[in-house]
């Protein structure tokens, strides 16, 4: 089966829009289900965690630089660095580590 990139993009766009637009246009009351609220509350943390590790180890040229970038990102975010600073810290660590690594 062949796949068309534009169909992929269209599916992504429609689903993404539906997820966001339906609650704000249809739901005018607070969600009552405690389970559903809790589930929706935990989803972002779980999805982002699962997508970050171990994928970050394979994103760089060496797993060591990926691991150190993860550590740097966690530390920077823990101490309240902005989104931009956290992202740049991770990049800087990879750049430095991969520059030094061949000499070790």
């Amino acid at each position: 089966m062949t796949h068309n990139s534009y169909i992929y993009i269209l599916i992504m766009a429609v689903v993404t829009f539906a997820v966001r637009a339906l609650p704000i246009t249809l739901i005018r009351r607070q969600i009552k289900s405690r389970f559903l609220q809790s589930f929706l509350f935990y989803v972002p943390y779980v999805t982002l965690s699962v997508m970050t590790f171990p994928a970050i180890l394979n994103a760089t040229q060496s797993p060591i630089s990926g691991a150190l970038a993860l550590l740097a990102g966690i530390i920077a975010a823990w101490f309240g660095a902005s989104l931009f600073k956290v992202a740049v810290s991770c990049c800087a660590v990879v750049l430095i580590v991969e520059f030094i690594l061949p000499f070790i």
């Binding site: 089966m1 796949h3 990139s5 534009y6 169909i7 992929y8 599916i11 992504m12 766009a13 689903v15 993404t16 829009f17 997820v19 966001r20 637009a21 339906l22 609650p23 704000i24 246009t25 607070q30 969600i31 405690r34 389970f35 609220q37 809790s38 589930f39 929706l40 935990y42 989803v43 972002p44 943390y45 779980v46 999805t47 982002l48 965690s49 699962v50 997508m51 970050t52 590790f53 171990p54 994928a55 994103a59 760089t60 040229q61 970038a69 993860l70 990102g73 920077a76 975010a77 309240g80 902005s82 989104l83 931009f84 956290v86 992202a87 740049v88 810290s89 991770c90 990049c91 990879v94």
Partner: protein
């Protein structure tokens, strides 16, 4: 007493001001998304429209990894839904914070641009959230996101490998910037993140899971762990 029109134009200008740091962050992060899109076989134009139409870091990234894997259409639809499920919670919250007489078109545009950061600044202001404040921020942040992605797709193949390798972790940095600060305040979230790392590592390395695609693994792990967390650690409604 300001007229509504004056109020809206003030809100729009405030939005532009508050949107500038977000735009800078988006530019760096979407750049790495563009590199991923290019690696998945998307053209520069396709990378641009993905970001212009979706405005979702994790959702787009999940979709792009599935495009790279030539996944089934249904798989990409489910994954996009799961990766963006948190926006349902945000637009639910936003629906409680906008004036009840906000028109359908304003609701739809606000929904379209509900990202983690734009949502955060929109509800941080006292009183009803003014759509024009959000539009001001969107006016600078959304182009930063879309053009950043296109630049990543262009430059990803020109830049030296070492630099691409460094920039490709920016996206993970953004994920960490979203999940880590709440983990510092909430031990349950911290525990869940550690558990997720371990479970995800196990799913990636154990041979019994090797037949399952990357995206399906993320869907299964997300649904199973979030359900377990909701059952074991239900939230008080007021906490959200």
């Amino acid at each position: 007493m300001q007229s509504t029109k004056e109020k809206n134009s003030t809100a729009f200008r405030d939005g532009i001001r508050d949107g500038i740091p977000i735009a800078l962050g988006y530019l760096a992060v979407s750049f790495s998304l563009g590199i991923a899109a290019k690696n998945a076989g998307l053209s520069v134009f396709q990378s641009f429209i993905v970001s212009a139409l979706c405005n979702a870091s994790a959702g787009e990234y999940a979709g792009i990894t599935l495009i790279a894997a030539k996944a089934a259409y249904i798989e990409i639809a489910i994954m996009t839904f799961i990766a963006n499920a948190r926006y349902m919670l945000m637009t639910c919250a936003l629906s409680q914070r906008i004036s009840p007489d906000t028109s359908l078109i304003h609701r739809m545009i606000m929904g379209f641009y509900t990202t983690d950061e734009l949502f955060a600044i929109s509800i941080s202001r006292p009183g009803y959230a003014n759509p024009f404040y959000m539009y001001g921020a969107v006016a600078v942040a959304a182009p930063g996101w879309a053009f950043g992605t296109a630049l990543g797709a262009i430059a990803g193949s020109i830049l030296p490998l070492r630099l691409v390798s460094a920039l490709s972790v920016a996206l993970y940095g953004m994920f960490l910037a979203v999940i880590i600060p709440p983990a510092r305040k909430n031990k349950i979230i911290a525990g869940i993140i550690i558990f997720c790392f371990a479970a995800s590592y196990a799913a990636a390395s154990l041979p019994i899971f090797s037949g399952i695609s990357e995206g399906t693994k993320t869907i299964i792990l997300t649904v199973v762990i979030s359900t377990a967390a909701a059952v074991l650690f239900p939230r008080n409604i007021e906490e959200v």
